[in-house]
């Protein structure tokens, strides 16, 4: 009798749970932040935008982080979303959407979707060239193209050249940098910087036998918190 009771309990336990009644999100929304199709490079973890899915009681945003090369991806449920880039995000302004007449973009997701988001950067770093100079320095040249030239135009505060031992290169991840004040730039079409490679490349104190560094140019625009960057480039020292 007791044994039967035991079996009943076991059977009940085995059948009492159902499978989870929600599927995990499976649609990938991915793409890049671009200006006229050219990706806008930003720092590694400072820029994000928000997705809002209305109709679910209390509202809260899904924050999507933008990678340093301007790409992003998010795993989402199918549905209708509103996409907004908060005004404080990134070295750019959002473009007024033709459909909503605001900075909000409407977005329907069913299945995977690849979508580039056009933004209006204050500047673009064009023709960035980073190369080894001698054995212990990196030189860079680039052209700063001013994109926003109306009342919202901003000046360049500082141009930096950053080096790091990993592919993450930005204002909080660097082992060496040099800078040039915006007021000292005589020709924005021809901005030169040079930075010395530290003796020990590893920032963590272990010996540096790494024979390459990563470099990129960052532009601080006055009154804008996030920096604009060029693409990360590997520099081989030997």
């Amino acid at each position: 009798m007791k044994k039967i009771f035991g079996y009943i309990v076991l059977t009940l336990a085995a059948f009492s749970c159902k499978k989870d009644n929600y599927e995990a999100p499976s649609s990938t929304l991915s793409g890049r932040l671009t200006y006229q199709g050219v990706p806008v490079n930003v720092s590694s973890k400072d820029v994000s935008f928000e997705l809002w899915e209305p109709g679910w009681g209390k509202s809260g945003a899904i924050t999507v982080a933008v990678n340093q090369d301007g790409s992003y991806s998010a795993l989402l449920f199918n549905g209708n979303y509103k996409l907004i880039i908060p005004p404080s995000q990134g070295p750019f302004r959002s473009i007024t959407d033709a459909e909503t007449k605001t900075d909000t973009m409407l977005l329907t997701l069913s299945g995977n979707r690849d979508m580039d988001i056009e933004v209006m950067p204050y500047y673009m770093i064009r023709d960035a060239k980073l190369e080894l100079s001698g054995t212990a320095a990196v030189n860079s040249t680039c052209r700063l193209e001013k994109i926003i030239i109306d009342v919202n135009a901003r000046d360049v505060e500082t141009v930096f050249l950053y080096l790091n031992q990993t592919t993450f290169v930005d204002a909080t991840n660097y082992i060496a940098r040099s800078s040039l004040a915006g007021s000292d730039i005589t020709d924005p079409a021809n901005v030169h910087l040079s930075v010395n490679i530290p003796d020990v490349i590893s920032g963590n104190g272990t010996t540096g036998d790494q024979d390459y560094v990563y470099a990129r140019i960052g532009v601080k625009i006055s009154g804008v918190e996030d920096l604009l960057f060029s693409e990360v480039q590997q520099i081989n020292i030997k």
Binding site: K58, S59, G60, S88, T172, E225
Partner: protein, 632 residues
């Protein structure tokens, strides 16, 4: 007969045994007090008020030590807290506060107490004034952290109509909240007692001190907010227009001067024979303290005690197997000037050689007494026990110094030099040992608020040293800052020199010496570990400059001392070493090195979105009238 008796008795029980239903359900509770009972008895009202005092908002205090280690004042020497010095960005929801439960309780108290006719009029007036002061204090805290918040001055009631939207209120302007705090203080100061002996309840002088601080905050946000135009909202919920600055500075100065000219308070100078001890005693001496205006008090054997001393006691005199958590930074220690009013790093090197000191304390000689009063330095004593803070032995071998050290408090080892004793101590009993929790990983321990009483370091006893929220020195600093901003440097230097004289300076600052950098510097050294740094840096809009996320080197730390916008993103320490070089005149002398604890891996970055903390998304979606704070 017996049977009848039984029937009658039963019938009687049936009839009278039960009370009417409504009476049955309205029995007076025996475990809580009703409104009626409370509002006729002053003692009970006082206990309600005590609860409200107990919920006074705080950010950094002696009861949450780790908050002090988020910036540049101290390093957290506890293995569970190292993440604080490894974190780059401050989360946007840090320091947020949305305590409308407390505000409602205060509103209810004000409303009910005003209607409590059975209390004597003067008693009632004082209670109401105290609650209004506490209400202003929470609004002040809200505006410091969140900007303008909905200003609710009456308890709101829901009418159960099914539509609660009428309870939604929009955010007031930032300046409106400051104006509210300032005007409330004008009202309550006439009612509150003017007895300077009252320290843990509101007085007229607390009202004035709070008014002075609030007006100063509003003034500096108006003045320095210009430098961060993106930290503002079009509706004024964040940001104060620059033309209001002068009026706020005047208000702040006037409130401070009312306290100063009353002569009810003075700087603590009871132990003039030892200025360092005097400055430390200012915080633990609770008997007739002439400087403290308002404090959170504690009492031994009452259940309301604090453990600051247990958490931070040096290992050498520890009464438990713990302590030493807060390690003040070299960045802070460097700020304390030499007695000739000059800034100077600690002399560690003389050209290519070290500077050799006979006594570990000598490197700190001839400085502002507040250095030793705020920080426990190597070579001093705590609770009568000499500190033993040194990082290792530097022995001379093969034409250079080599270092030997241990990995536990006071480790013994043999120095590998011929003729050295077989076993000798190679590291101090207090550390510093890099990565060993409770050791002085920056080379310092905190002294402010430390209790010298025996037993204060025991879990079974704890400490009753109070947490000073307002003191006279801050009032002088408020006056000095407001006077400086109002272009009265003469007045400013008068106030500032009083503090500096107490700290041992003999040459007063001249009017021409007073600058913004000086004002910032004086507040930092006087008010370290009193919960001011974050909010001061916010209102001066310096926070995003001093915590800008850029790595700093040892050379950066020791240069530009006393500059208000000096980058201060990483904590450094100063480690002492004992020289072992028998036969050499430097044998057994001490040298120092600037170093960075290995657990300091990140440079702090305060983003523009940190100036006003994020309002939670649940709060925003409950009340669509609220606007989000900028940049976060």
């Amino acid at each position: 007969m017996k049977k009848y008796l039984l029937i009658i008795a039963a019938a009687f029980v049936m009839i009278s045994g039960c009370v009417k239903d409504d009476e049955f359900l309205s029995t007076d509770p025996k475990d809580l007090l009703t409104d009626d009972a409370v509002w006729r008895n002053p003692d009970l009202v006082l206990s309600v008020l005590a609860d409200l005092y107990n919920r006074y908002p705080e950010q950094q205090t002696i009861t949450n030590w780790a908050e002090f280690t988020n910036f540049d004042e101290a390093f957290p020497s506890e293995s569970g807290q190292y993440w604080r010095s490894k974190q780059v960005d401050y989360p946007y929801d840090w320091w947020n506060i949305w305590d409308y439960g407390y505000i409602r309780d205060l509103n209810l108290f004000v409303q009910k107490c005003q209607a409590a006719n059975e209390l004597a009029a003067d008693v009632r007036a004082r209670f109401v004034a105290e609650a209004r002061l506490l209400r202003a204090a929470i609004y002040f805290e809200e505006v410091k952290r969140m900007g303008g918040v909905p200003l609710i001055r009456e308890p709101m009631e829901y009418n159960f109509s099914g539509d609660p939207t009428y309870l939604r209120h929009a955010r007031a302007k930032e300046s409106d909240i400051y104006d509210f705090v300032i005007s409330e203080m004008d009202t309550v100061k006439t009612v509150l007692p003017d007895d300077a002996g009252i320290k843990s309840r509101a007085t007229k002088w607390l009202a004035l001190a709070m008014q002075s601080r609030a007006a100063l905050y509003a003034a500096s946000i108006a003045k320095y907010g210009v430098s961060t135009p993106s930290v503002s909202l079009p509706g004024g919920e964040v940001g104060i227009s620059a033309d209001k600055a002068t009026a706020y500075y005047q208000k702040s100065l006037a409130a401070a001067q009312e306290i100063i000219s009353s002569n009810k308070y003075s700087l603590y100078k009871k132990k003039a024979e030892d200025l360092e001890e005097n400055f430390a005693a200012l915080f633990y001496d609770k008997a007739n303290n002439p400087e403290v205006i308002f404090a959170q008090d504690f009492k031994l054997k009452s259940g309301k005690t604090q453990e600051w001393t247990i958490l931070n006691q040096p290992w050498s005199s520890a009464e438990e197997q713990q302590g030493g958590r807060m390690n003040p930074s070299l960045n802070l220690a460097l700020l304390y000037e030499k007695l000739d009013n000059t800034y100077s790093p600690f002399a560690t090197n003389n050209g290519n050689d070290y500077v050799y000191y006979n006594d570990p304390k000598d490197i700190f000689a001839g400085r502002d007494a507040r250095l030793g009063g705020t920080i426990i330095l190597p070579g001093t004593k705590f609770k009568g026990v000499p500190l033993d803070i040194w990082a290792g032995v530097m022995y001379w071998k093969d034409g250079k110094y080599n270092t030997i050290t241990g990995d536990n408090f006071g480790d013994l080892d043999s120095i590998p030099v011929a003729g050295a004793p077989k076993s000798s101590q190679v590291v101090g009993d207090d550390g510093p040992i890099d990565g060993l929790q409770f050791s002085a990983q920056t080379g310092f321990f905190v002294r402010k608020f430390m209790d010298p009483a025996v037993g204060s370091g025991q879990i079974g006893t704890r400490s009753d040293v109070w947490w000073v929220r307002y003191r006279y020195a801050e009032v002088l600093l408020n006056a000095a800052e407001a006077a400086f901003e109002l272009e009265q440097p003469g007045l400013s230097s008068t106030y500032m020199n009083q503090l500096r004289e107490r700290a041992g300076f003999t040459t007063p600052l001249l009017d021409a010496d007073i600058s913004f950098d000086r004002i910032v510097h004086e507040r930092r050294v006087e008010l370290a570990f009193e919960g001011h740094e974050l909010f001061d840096n916010k209102r001066w809009r310096l926070a995003h400059k001093v915590w800008n996320g850029e790595n700093i080197s040892a050379e950066d730390v020791v240069s530009n001392i006393g500059k208000a916008n000096k980058v201060n993103t990483m904590i450094y320490g100063l480690w002492g070493y004992k020289i072992f070089n028998p036969g050499n005149p430097n044998h057994n002398k001490w040298v120092y090195k600037v170093m960075k604890p290995s657990n300091v891996t990140a440079a702090h970055r305060f983003n523009l979105g940190n100036y006003y903390s994020r309002i939670g998304s649940d709060i925003l979606s409950n009340n669509p009238k609220l606007v989000k704070n900028p940049n976060n």
